[in-house]
């Protein structure tokens, strides 16, 4: 085992002091050390997107980055979306539009969508579908996910 490194991760605007091995991925540290188990792991090699989080505002695969790389960066996970008990517009829209069944892929889709819509609220339908093709959902057939994200755009604009 290699030496542990102490560092501070800023997740959802809160600092977490962690002690990691360099080989620990950001996804594993978020889940196992910070206790934020909303971030899911499917494939652990970059294909499924269920581990998607925002790193300095951009959606990235948390299974393909090591936690030791991320000190001083702003990390956001699905736990950071709602304000208290009030769901984020994307979360509400996923519920209202039946954009989830088992829910395994949902945190990844939510963070992917949050990242792209914050950057580009006027994204075209074609580009949105292209971005959403990044993640895999085994249940819904995607149509309702696209619909939910589209419906959330208007609501996010109002906030």
């Amino acid at each position: 085992m290699s030496a542990r490194v102490n560092l501070t991760l800023n997740i959802n605007e809160r600092d977490y002091a962690v002690s990691v091995e360099p080989r620990h991925t950001l996804a594993d540290v978020i889940r196992d050390q910070c206790g934020l188990t909303g971030t899911h792991l499917g494939c652990e090699h970059g294909v499924c997107g269920s581990c998607t989080i925002l790193l300095d505002g951009e959606p990235v695969r948390a299974c393909l980055i090591f936690a030791v790389q991320c000190d001083g960066q702003e990390i956001r996970t699905v736990e950071g979306l709602s304000e208290g008990n009030e769901l984020h517009p994307l979360q509400a829209s996923f519920r209202d539009n039946h954009a989830l069944q088992c829910g395994y892929c949902t945190p990844g889709f939510l963070m992917l969508a949050a990242g792209i819509l914050e950057r580009n609220p006027s994204i075209s339908d074609e580009d949105l579908r292209d971005v959403l093709s990044s993640n895999i959902c085994r249940c819904t057939g995607y149509a309702n996910i696209v619909k939910a994200v589209r419906a959330a755009v208007a609501e996010m604009g109002r906030r």
Binding site: P22, D28, G49, P59
Partner: protein
């Protein structure tokens, strides 16, 4: 699976990075750029580097600018930088269209142009662009720096002529003349997958006839390459469906395609035939 243990360095400058690489390179040390190829292969335990040299915080590797008619791309420039036009004229939007075929949006937020060249995946879009447009790279080590032509760098599937202690610091992509037409086409089974084949075509039209044609194929053989027979089928002929089809036929014939359980040699040839015509049509549009 989880990656095996490694030591971690995060140098702040090129000088520091090559110092570390001189030490750890010969002992299974590796550069960590975007990690979008290296980390999956570590998760599969196909790679088990002793040390990673993380270059992501080296500011002097973040440059992206035009110098003497070439686009100079620092080692930390990510695929996503090309989501917007990075240069004026035809090449800017062209590179944007190509970039959108690389994996998915979140992959492009991390993966780098130079990392793609160092990885030398046969189906890498940037490797094809580099070979087609005559790019070169700069490699730095404690021993000094050298310039390597893309065709001398990429010598086989996942195989380059970079030495263990060398850091690829930048790529230099000559920008085609303003009147050059550029087209790209690829085929993959699902959005974001590595392509089964891809074609980049470029040419000029002089007095109604094609001149300076370039047809380069990626994803079909162990590395991308220009196909002289297809270029000969174009030069001197008027652009149009008939000429393009002849070039497609010549490209398909000249190839020695890879084969796997899902993709036969004949299928890849067919793909290249069609994709060549398509890339040429897109260039004409």
């Amino acid at each position: 699976m989880k990656p095996s243990a490694f030591r971690y360095h995060r140098p702040g400058s090129i000088a520091e990075a090559v110092d570390v690489l001189a030490d750890v390179g010969p002992d299974q040390g590796r550069v960590l750029a975007g990690g979008q190829s290296l980390v999956p292969s570590m998760a599969f335990r196909l790679a088990a580097p002793s040390t990673l040299v993380d270059i992501n915080r080296i500011e002097e590797l973040g440059h992206l600018s035009v110098q003497d008619g070439s686009l100079v791309i620092g080692a930390c420039v990510r695929h996503a930088a090309f989501h917007r036009s990075v240069v004026d004229g035809v090449p800017g939007p062209f590179l944007t269209r190509v970039a959108r075929h690389i994996g998915h949006y979140p992959i492009r937020q991390r993966g780098t142009f130079c990392g793609s060249l160092a990885q030398a995946d046969p189906a890498s879009e940037w490797c094809l662009v580099a070979v087609a447009l005559g790019a070169s790279v700069t490699a730095a080590s404690k021993r000094g720096t050298r310039r390597i032509e893309a065709t001398d760098l990429i010598v086989g599937a996942m195989t380059t002529t970079l030495a263990e202690d060398e850091l690829l610091t930048e790529a230099c992509l000559p920008l085609p003349a303003p009147e050059t037409r550029l087209g790209f086409a690829e085929f993959s089974r699902r959005a974001g997958d590595f392509a089964l084949a891809m074609v980049l075509a470029s040419y000029r039209v002089v007095d109604g006839r094609i001149a300076g044609a370039c047809v380069a194929v990626g994803g079909a053989e162990d590395r991308p390459r220009r196909i002289a027979a297809a270029e000969m089928a174009l030069d001197g002929n008027p652009p149009g469906a008939e000429t393009f089809a002849a070039a497609g036929g010549a490209a398909a014939e000249a190839l020695d395609p890879m084969e796997d359980a899902q993709t036969s040699v004949a299928y890849r040839r067919d793909l290249v035939r069609t994709l060549t015509s398509r890339a040429l049509e897109r260039a004409a549009a």
